[in-house]
Symmetry: C2
Subunit: 356 residues, 2 copies
């Protein structure tokens, strides 16, 4: 883990401690999942504070941490938390201003003697590059998602409507050992596939239409993300053409992925292919995003991004073309950025799947 580096950054930023209050941050730092916990880091200390539901488990697992139980006294949790901070004589305390409500901030500010210093994305530079252990978990999540797709593919004709297919996806995620969806699965049939973020609905899945499936699972706290566009029945020639353009854009972007490359070049590589065929105006989103504890993490694989790809970042590659009122195609894999190339975790082929 990068705790020592994170503690060093705290010192470097001129603060005496940092209070992490959001679930993803607390999980990232402690590797312990809880719905109610705080992590407080100083240059030399690591505190994990939680309630009686998680206390015993946390004490068991977090051997070199100070694990503190909330709820002992007849006090509100924020008061207990403030007491702990005050006892530590912290003068400047960092907090996650992008993940903290104004109410919480105001209450904390009133109760602690420390000056509060807000940071946005404090952990991003650490979280973006995954450890091999994290990559192994994501690899499993992606493998399991491939299997969900293989199962679901042939169920399309049986699904009553889009939401019914979503139900089958969720059921299969659990059967594969997942902890649930990493986001509400998108099942977009026919012209719904032309809407990049279509909300899965009671639309009947008609034959001779494409079905776009964008889904992911949470597995051991990490997310997968996956999209395929399936041809259900006969396909219109333009749709087939678009599919192959998206596939070419996808593969062209993947070829560019390696450590040290500016992220925008990945996006531009996909974009250029789509523009070359005259569909530039129909590629409505960026080429991808980081994925890990959260479904959307840095980097944003966009032409507006100023970031540089770092080794062991895990990102999605997901170009798409959307013809309003007709249909859309998106093809999404998860890849790991390596020193001289990238490793594609998704094993489902990119060739068109034709069913029915």
């Amino acid at each position: 883990m990068k705790l020592l580096e994170i503690q060093a950054k705290i010192k470097e930023k001129g603060i005496d401690g940092f209070l992490f209050s959001s679930k993803p941050s607390v999980f990232y730092l402690s590797r312990f999942y809880s719905t109610n916990a705080y992590v407080l880091l100083t240059e030399s200390k690591k505190l994990f504070m939680t309630d009686s539901r998680y206390y015993e488990g946390a004490k068991d697992r977090l051997k070199d941490w100070e694990v503190i139980l909330f709820g002992k006294k007849n006090k509100k949790q924020i008061e207990e938390l403030s007491d702990i901070i005050n006892e530590m004589e912290i003068k400047k305390l960092g907090f996650e201003e992008d993940r903290t409500t104004v109410s919480f901030y105001r209450k904390l500010k009133e109760a602690v003697t420390a000056e509060l210093v807000g940071f946005s994305g404090f952990l991003n530079p650490f979280r973006v590059s995954k450890t091999e252990e994290e990559i192994e978990i994501i690899r499993k999540a992606v493998e399991k998602t491939d299997r969900v797709f293989a199962y679901i593919l042939n169920k399309i004709p049986q699904a009553k409507d889009e939401l019914d297919l979503r139900r089958m996806i969720i059921n299969q995620i659990f059967l594969e050992g997942g902890e649930g969806e990493s986001f509400p699965s998108i099942v977009a049939s026919g012209k719904n596939s032309a809407v990049p973020h279509h909300e899965t609905s009671h639309t009947t899945i008609e034959k001779n239409q494409p079905v776009l499936i964008d889904m992911g699972m949470v597995y051991r706290g990490y997310c997968s993300d996956f999209t395929r566009t399936v041809f259900y029945g006969k396909v219109d020639r333009e749709l087939e053409k678009i599919y192959h353009i998206v596939k070419e854009a996808h593969l062209t972007a993947v070829e560019k992925v390696k450590a040290g490359v500016p992220v925008r070049e990945i996006d531009l590589a996909a974009r250029k292919v789509i523009e070359k065929y005259g569909y530039g105006d129909y590629f409505l989103h960026s080429t991808g995003h980081g994925v890990g504890i959260e479904i959307h993490e840095p980097p944003r694989v966009s032409h507006l991004s100023e970031e540089i790809l770092v080794e062991n970042a895990v990102i999605t590659i997901e170009p798409g073309i959307y013809i309003p009122g007709k249909y859309g195609v998106r093809l999404e894999n998860v890849v790991v950025v390596r020193k001289n190339s990238c490793e594609t975790l998704t094993k489902t082929p990119l060739q068109p799947f034709k069913i029915g």
Copy 2:
């Protein structure tokens, strides 16, 4: 709808407008579901601002609103939002400080000329008492949840483990037309049932043990909440005794429910029954909570609560007894507070279910 009353309250509070940015508030005010929208109310105006995914639908449905499309100019959304606020010449703008991040607040503060005034729970007094239309939706959600339970009850012996039963619950929620779980279903078997907020795990569901099932669905944007403790196989005599104490506590609390009663009396009624039998120390949480667009809404049915029950509030009644390391029992129904009594929406009986 209570929009006129809400607009009157805005004026009464000495502010010229209120920006609602959280999903539940935006849905409550507009009855339009979107993952990215703001509502701005002034004494005389109603603005609904969203992106291209929701714009057409919102314009169609919100006839007497000003519906504004984000993303027209090459601007960040918060800049567009600020421009709109500035054009309206609002001097004092209310915002939801309990649902807004510090980052958002800081960006907004920089970009608008208005003074920002934070409020916590601004809509609570309106949301707590439901309209008959809202009650009808919740009634359906509860009915469907009863049916999920009836189905799932006999599946307990087939479930591989707790999570497998949760999978079946979710599947059944979708088959009933639900939009998903209203919270992660709790399946707690054997000694896990002694943990009020047990996290559903890979624990095998053993025979001759209780199985506590706490679940709910979202239906048309509203939540249901439901708990039963099932006897799987033979039951220990103390467990049976505890079951009947919890049932008595439940019914005693329900009898107290009517408009005008201090909420704490409901909690105290349940608590007294449990104390009378000597289990007072094993009732670890409050007796219930409001339920609606969110799974936990005011009022908190606690002995610490200062609130008074209002007509048409929808609350849960869910006393429980938890013997550490052994087992627990909780029985939860959803009830509507009426003028002289209450209406129980949950139709599943409170008698013990014995299976296997």
